[in-house]
């Protein structure tokens, strides 16, 4: 029982405040929203990297006007008529209305510092960025296109893992995307994986961890099993910083932690060093 009950609906005044101000999840600092956006959604006080939408991510890392979206027309289908407390088809419709996207992933061709690459970005707001058939198909296609055009590929992950509502087919997207990356690798074309908060489950255990270069944003939660599941399994507290980007760097699982404002520059350098 909580002592202070949260009000069901915020008052007009609270709404107005919410529209202008954000609170940092880590240091609790109240930040003026415009200021936060100018700072690429990174807390100016503690450098917490707020999750950002796919479109914003693309705007931050690609050369202006260079992004050409691909496979926009791919839409999810509820093949197994999945229903839990809600129908999967209803969940899809709600997510599509909420995000304006057909599914949880955007792909396209872009340039970073004038260097071409195929790029894919998760939209976490779409069913937790879960990996379903459309996401898997888009990844396979972008990798195949990278091979055709003899350019590299970059994927920004933020995902809870495989999309349960698509049953076994969602699990098979792990195999499908990894097989595509095996071909890219054989062609000696670079693949850079950028892990952002949060990346867990089947996404980490396939293309997430298959990068020639694996980067992460500061503080990002990255793992196979979620922290809650692990805690329940081992029935003990988890070590401080467990499954955060810094922890993974210390344990040798990733190459580099890159701040958001340095991301474009860093990706450009990697492409340059690997291409030429």
């Amino acid at each position: 029982m909580t002592w202070f009950k949260k009000k069901e609906t915020p008052s007009q005044e609270e709404k107005a405040i919410d529209a202008l101000w954000s609170k940092c999840n880590v240091c609790q600092e109240i930040i003026y929203k415009k200021e936060l956006e100018r700072n690429l959604n990174v807390c100016p006080k503690c450098s917490y990297h707020f999750p950002i939408q796919a479109q914003k991510r693309l705007a931050i890392v690609t050369d202006e006007g260079s992004f050409k979206e691909l496979d926009r027309a791919l839409v999810p289908v509820d093949l197994i008529s999945f229903r839990d407390l809600k129908r999967y088809s209803d969940r899809l419709r709600e997510a599509q209305q909420k995000t304006g996207l057909k599914d949880a992933f955007i792909t396209g061709r872009c340039e970073i510092h004038q260097l071409p690459a195929m790029v894919g970005v998760f939209e976490f707001d779409f069913l937790g960025g879960s990996l379903g058939s459309v996401v898997g198909e888009k990844i396979a296609r972008m990798i195949e296109k990278a091979i055709d055009e003899k350019i590299g590929a970059i994927i920004f992950t933020s995902s809870g893992g495989a999309r349960m509502q698509e049953g076994i087919l969602s699990l098979m997207q792990m195999a499908k995307t990894s097989a595509a990356l095996s071909r890219l690798r054989k062609e000696r074309l670079p693949y850079i994986s950028v892990l952002t908060d949060p990346t867990t489950g089947g996404v980490t255990a396939s293309f997430g961890m298959l990068g020639d270069i694996i980067l992460a944003e500061p503080g990002a939660l990255i793992g196979f099993a979620g922290p809650r599941v692990i805690k329940e399994t081992i029935k003990a507290d988890l070590p401080p910083g467990f499954q955060r980007a810094e922890y993974l760097l210390t344990h040798g699982m990733i190459d580099l932690i890159v701040e958001r404002r340095r991301l474009k520059e860093t990706l450009g350098k990697f492409l340059d060093l690997l291409y030429h």
Binding site: A73, L74, V75, P76, V77, D78, L79, I80, F82, R83, D84, L85, S133, V134, G136, E137, A140, A162, M164, E166, G167, I168, L169, S170, L171, M172, Q173, M174, A175, K176, S178, A179, A180, L181, S182, R183, R185, G201, G202, T204, A205, S206, F207, G208, M209, L210, G223, F224, A225, V229, I230, T233, I234, L238, P239, F242, Q243, H251, G252, M253
Partner: protein
């Protein structure tokens, strides 16, 4: 051996126990006893048919995890000759939840590996209930690479609740270990036949599950998440496993329908645990047949077809 019964097998238990007792201890020459035995036999046949004819996905889930069910090492013992187990990932440890080695199948040298569960409390702990750490997947990869170097076909057996969710497993790269296996298995230039013999639990199962042919035993399950795990998240109630088992489409028939597997391996009536030798013979026949069919396929075509096998999986529309 003490036979273990599942909840839904209870009506059968009473009948089979009485039958066994009569046969063992009652005087055979007593006509009343032989009449009773005859009656019981008929009744048992009928109840067996009623019990097993229309198993629900949840009942199959229970059967797939049955404590008496044959495990990887049982099948290896019954199907393969000259099996020599190989140990360790050459980096950190030997993971007893994954076993594998070299062996001969129907006269031909092969690599065979799979998840290994335990049967009693001690062995279950030792095998970590068939849940591998990263070292298990790395051992599997190492053994498969050995097979590739010496041009041996690969047979894998899936039987795991999933990859182990623990601190050490995460620290040592559980996700990366699984991912590497997926990528490497996609391109191994030797035939790979995968058999789901029991529980196909998520990424930990798929980590040895990329191949040219995926076969599945009649009462095995293969799922993106355990029915209980799915229920806990989507129904917010872990006891709704039977509902989730239904919704997730995890039975062999479902997966054949979704074109994820190539063939269902029939099991002895009532499940593989009721007739080890019978189950093993059927598995052997299927594996040998598929390996033989893939054996002489040129490598380029073998790999192209394996790629396409997974490439076409998924459901979407293009507007």
């Amino acid at each position: 051996m003490v036979r273990h019964y599942l909840d839904f097998e209870k009506p059968l238990r009473e009948l089979e126990r009485e039958y066994e007792e009569l046969r063992r201890f009652a005087p055979r020459d007593d006509p009343r006893v032989s009449a009773r035995i005859e009656k019981l036999e008929k009744r048992i046949t009928k109840v067996r048919e009623e019990t097993y004819a229309q198993l629900t996905p949840w009942q199959r889930t229970q059967l797939s995890r049955h404590i008496d069910r044959p495990h990887t090492l049982d099948y290896i013992r019954m199907i393969f000759e000259d099996f020599i187990e190989l140990h360790g990932d050459r980096g950190f440890m030997d993971d007893p939840a994954m076993v594998g080695g070299l062996a001969r199948l129907d006269g031909e040298a092969v690599v065979v590996l799979g998840h290994q569960k335990g049967r009693d409390v001690k062995e279950m702990g030792y095998r970590n209930f068939g849940m591998s750490h990263p070292e298990g997947y790395r051992k599997a990869l190492r053994i498969m690479e050995l097979g590739v170097r010496f041009n041996k076909p690969i047979v894998t057996m899936i039987d795991t609740p999933g990859a182990y969710p623990g601190v050490g497993a995460e620290e040592r790269g559980q996700a990366g270990a699984i991912a590497h296996n997926l990528r490497e298995m996609a391109a191994f230039p030797v035939p790979i036949v995968v058999v789901v013999i029991g529980e196909g639990g998520s990424g930990g199962a798929l980590a040895i599950g990329v191949g040219d042919r995926i076969l599945m035993m009649e009462n095995a399950i293969y799922s993106v998440i355990s029915p209980e795990g799915c229920a806990a998240i989507l129904w917010r109630d872990g006891t709704k496993g039977p509902l989730a088992a239904e919704a997730l489409k995890i039975t062999a028939a479902d997966l054949l329908n979704l074109e994820v597997i190539d063939e269902i391996i029939p099991e002895p009536f009532g499940g593989a645990h009721r007739d080890y030798e019978g189950a093993a013979a059927t598995v052997k026949e299927a594996v040998v047949r598929h390996l033989r069919e893939r054996k002489d396929v040129p490598v380029e075509r073998l790999l192209a077809e394996r790629y396409q096998r997974f490439r076409r999986m998924g459901s979407f529309l293009e507007e």
